[in-house]
């Protein structure tokens, strides 16, 4: 049973790392890809916690719908975070 605790701890550390990456990153496309990785890791964590229906919903929403909506939003606005402020000055 200790192996699940170890795997869960590794996944938690990777989850925090990718969340920090998504926040710090200035290129918004990288942040969207990081959101997909966060959803993936969360799904595996829910699976280890014996909740497969929550993992199913998280997988279906996170990897398909969120990515599509955010990429279409980036297509219609700007890709870099600072570009909007430069144009407004």
């Amino acid at each position: 049973m200790i192996i699940y605790v170890v795997i869960f701890s590794i996944l938690a550390v990777l989850l925090v790392a990718s969340a920090l990456f998504a926040i710090i990153q200035k290129d918004l496309l990288y942040a969207v890809i990081a959101t997909g990785v966060i959803s993936l890791i969360l799904s595996v964590m829910f699976f280890i916690l014996q909740a497969p229906d929550v993992a199913l919903t998280e997988a279906a929403i996170g990897i398909a719908l969120t990515t599509i909506v955010f990429v279409i939003t980036i297509r219609n606005t700007t890709r870099n975070e600072d570009e909007k402020e430069i144009n407004s000055k």
Partner: protein
């Protein structure tokens, strides 16, 4: 769900593969590296979900891996079309 050494070895190897994929995702200089890393991590997660469903001895858990197998490539295709400039 008795764990023998074979199961523990497979779980450790899958964890190492996951960590290596995450290193490429965090280090990768271009967007293509990160998208390919996301796809690789998705496939490794699918394999580990199937294996953990086998260990837990409940075959209803395979549905999560099925959803990942069906829907996992859609995000990669959308980002690839955006990078191509054709979206």
């Amino acid at each position: 769900m008795e764990l023998n050494y074979l199961y523990i070895t497979v779980l450790v190897i899958l964890s190492i593969a996951f960590i290596i994929g995450m290193l490429r995702f965090i280090k990768g200089p271009t967007a293509s590296d990160r998208v390919v890393a996301l796809d690789t991590i998705s496939i490794i997660a699918t394999a580990s979900l199937v294996f953990m469903g086998y260990i837990f001895n409940r075959y209803i858990y395979l549905d999560v891996a099925l959803i990942y197998g069906v829907l996992g490539f859609i995000g990669v295709i959308i980002i690839a079309r955006y990078l191509e400039g054709a979206l």
